[in-house]
Symmetry: C2
Subunit: 499 residues, 2 copies
């Protein structure tokens, strides 16, 4: 049986290698690839995808997994081998349920849909995107139909990003959270607004870059196993563990994009870098889920990077780099980077309003899957909902229903993970502060090794071994829960806005 396991591991290593190569190609595509190479690149990635699909759905692999099933049951269920087999079975079953010609059709549809979305957003004309989105919804329904019925059809979509997570659980979490966030935002809106005008002025681009590098180097981002480049949309890429690459965006007249974008991506990247070396070339590298991944990026960006102790340490260095901030006191700066302002665009939203952007997306996605809303009515539905939650009205669809790229890629079930990540980050933060009582003081001294060490030992090292709810339960003693996040928001913004 051990020989069979070795054979399985060889197959998985091959798939991991191909996946790693795909990750390099993806990174290259968004950083350095010459524009004329796009079509060729599409063919290269399609070929690698086809080879991986052939290997990952081969009958021999299926037979091997069938044979290993009883063996896996005899192992410690938390052992690497048991988890590796579990995920191999999971991945095999998901891959074999979806016919190859469906995958090809979907790839073609989203390529066109993505182009149409870009055009539609540019012209703020939903009608350009509408037929493509209708086609994507049709494909999404067919996709769901390949799987055995679930409690809710949306479960099947969610499961791709949050393994074993249920729609009902996400909905329950969001339903509890929404009224509290809405209430908090209203209370903030009733107070005088803070000043953040000093963030909107020219900042030397090279100095911005250098400052970001300084910060994430102190965080513990490992440059031996990573690098930073520029891209239009910041992302974390690469094969993982020993090759994890981040990008950032430097805006010449606004400090925040580089500052918090760099910390955000470094948070993702340090997670990937912290996965156990023993898991390299297995199916267990990467994070437990998108939500757990986001808990790491948001922790470094917000709980660390937008905290008062952080800026007690870093603000003098920032002021030295940018003398235009010399006259801005620390308190003013701190409040400015934490300004709460209901707005139209998710990716520009602050900590207090962000989750509401997600909730409306989840509701719309669920309604689409349940056939309770038609694609043609989306702009109207969108505008009504964002007005209800945030009190703002999009002047056009570019700033409304067309703002995100996700649907054009056929990514349904993805958005919730952003909000869940926020919640998990606060749950972890409470636990970390119990385990490291002087954490604030350490941050005030610019020391992050205990924090990173804790995250490595409790989260990173496990890679993808545990399901997200299972991992959170193991670490903090309860499942995903919004209470810590609300406590965090109330305390922080209560102080900032004198509530």
């Amino acid at each position: 049986m051990e020989k069979k396991l070795e054979k399985l591991k060889e197959t998985i290593a091959t798939l991991a290698d191909i996946g790693g190569v795909q990750a390099i190609l993806g990174w290259d595509q968004q950083t350095y690839m010459p524009p004329g190479a796009a079509e060729m690149r599409g063919q290269q990635t399609a070929t690698l995808g086809r080879l991986a699909h052939e290997i990952g759905t081969s009958p021999e692999l299926g037979k091997l997994l069938d044979e290993l099933r009883p063996y896996a049951a005899s192992l410690d269920p938390d052992s690497d081998d048991a988890r590796l087999i579990k995920f191999a079975i999971r991945d095999y079953e998901r891959a074999t349920r979806v016919p190859a010609d469906f995958v090809v059709e979907q790839a073609q549809v989203v390529t066109l849909a993505n182009q149409a979305w870009a055009e539609a957003r540019g012209k703020s004309d939903f009608s350009i995107f509408r037929p493509h989105l209708e086609k994507i919804m049709e494909l999404t329904h067919r996709f769901v139909g390949f799987f055995p019925p679930a409690d809710h059809p949306y479960d099947i979509l969610l499961d791709a990003f949050e393994p074993e997570m249920k729609t009902a659980d996400v909905k329950a979490i969001f339903d509890a959270l929404r009224p509290q966030q809405v209430e908090l935002i209203k209370a903030i809106a009733a107070q005088p607004q803070v000043d953040d005008s000093f963030l909107h002025q020219p900042f030397d681009e090279q100095k911005q870059w250098d400052f970001g590098v300084e910060v994430i180097t102190k965080f513990g981002y490992d440059w031996q196993r990573g690098r930073q480049d520029k891209s239009a949309h910041p992302f974390t890429g690469g094969p993982g563990v020993n090759d994890v690459r981040i990008t950032t965006r430097v805006t010449p007249d606004f400090l925040n994009s580089m500052l918090f974008g760099t910390m955000h991506e470094a948070g993702h990247a340090m997670y990937e870098q912290g996965v156990a070396q023993t898991l390299v070339r297995t199916n267990l590298i990467g994070g437990a889920s998108l939500a757990v991944h986001e808990s790491q990026s948001r922790m470094w960006e917000n709980l660390v990077g937008r905290s008062y102790p952080f800026w007690q340490h870093f603000y003098p260095a920032l002021q030295e780099k940018f003398p235009q901030l010399a006259g801005v006191p620390l308190d003013t700066f701190y409040k400015g980077i934490n300004k709460v302002q209901p707005s139209l665009i998710r990716v520009e939203a602050d900590e207090a309003t962000y989750n509401l952007h997600i909730m409306l997306r989840l509701e719309i996605e669920m309604a689409l899957i349940e056939d309770k809303v038609a694609v043609k009515d989306l702009p109207e539905v969108w505008n009504a909902k964002i007005n209800e939650y945030l009190g703002v009205t999009p002047p056009n669809d570019s700033q409304g229903v067309l703002q995100d790229i996700h649907w054009s890629w056929g990514l349904f079930g993805y958005f919730s993970t952003y909000a869940l990540g926020n919640l998990i980050s606060a749950q972890l933060w409470e636990k970390i502060n119990q385990d490291i009582p002087d954490l604030d003081e350490q941050i005030r001294q610019g020391k992050f090794d205990a924090l990173l060490g804790w995250l490595r030992a409790n989260i990173h090292v496990h890679g993808r071994k545990f399901m997200p709810q299972e991992l959170v339960q193991r670490v903090v003693g309860s499942k995903i829960d919004s209470a810590p996040y609300m406590r965090y928001l109330r305390k922080k913004y209560g102080e900032i806005y004198s509530l």
Copy 2:
């Protein structure tokens, strides 16, 4: 039969895609890959190599090729399809002759040998490299043994780089050339030396980079389908045609590395970019051979870039960028960049001495294959030969037998292609000057479109369709021949050194 051809083309397209991906990984490895990723990268490329080998040596492919053989014979032998089948058979036969475990063993040996070579060169201690090179020679003999006997065992090695080229032909070409080059160098040495001290002074690195970019943009390097980065050793990489990437090296106190290195690599790259779009995803992209490739790089570097008309156009712009050259007249500059000086290091050699560096390597490689010289005696043999040809004596092995990386990679049969490239470049140049009588005047005006157009139509567009000797014969009406190169050297250096 057309269906079978389609099936062959699909297989070849898959192999081309994998090869293209390998090329991207190779580029990344030498430009941006984090150092800690090296081991992971080794596994990824090994996996892709194994997949390509499995596809490229599969019995189904062999059967398909057997079936297509008579069909190929019925086609116009110069047609793309006939050539595609011919090369598919050639590649299949070469790949299936070499056992898979030999390939694995060789990969392991050269990995260690490469490390040992780097250490040996660093310490200038041949004994560190010697056992590895002995192992490589043993492998090389075994490799030759996998093939049917050739006129000379070295033919089998040469054929990997110069398809269908014979050792006897190369030797005859070099034997005719050597005494003439030696004689020319002696004549030059008897004359007063030219001054090139002005090339050795500080030159702003960004300005150097910018000037190189200006030059190759005028040449016609297509930035839509390429890019330039920095690397320790300049190279041309990428999958080809629509994705061809070059690197350069900028030395802060010497102008030549960036200047001629950039033009050299652009020459390679424009060849790759000029291959017909219809050959993308076939086995016919890339160049006809390494020698033909080198004819393109050396043409742009030397016949264009070290010519008087070129600098009549570009020297004012260079002087404007670098005011330190204001007092250096054009004639002095031209002579300086063409200084002839027998030296120890091949990659730093001038046009008049370069080929002699190659000839001594060919003789040593042939003697090794013929078992006429032992690895342990190489330093002595090397030093004697370079003294005989160039009148210089290496003070240590780093500047002698250890200077090149090629043998540590197991690359035997490679070096000749550099010299053959020089010869071909001069043959093409004579023909081009017949076809474009005012070429000098065009260059003097900074116009290169007619030259590039000629190269595209006569050389580039064909990709790998023709064998090198066949291609040269088609274009200039004779096989590879040293007479045009000697005419070129005598005329140019006769003027510079008043012979």
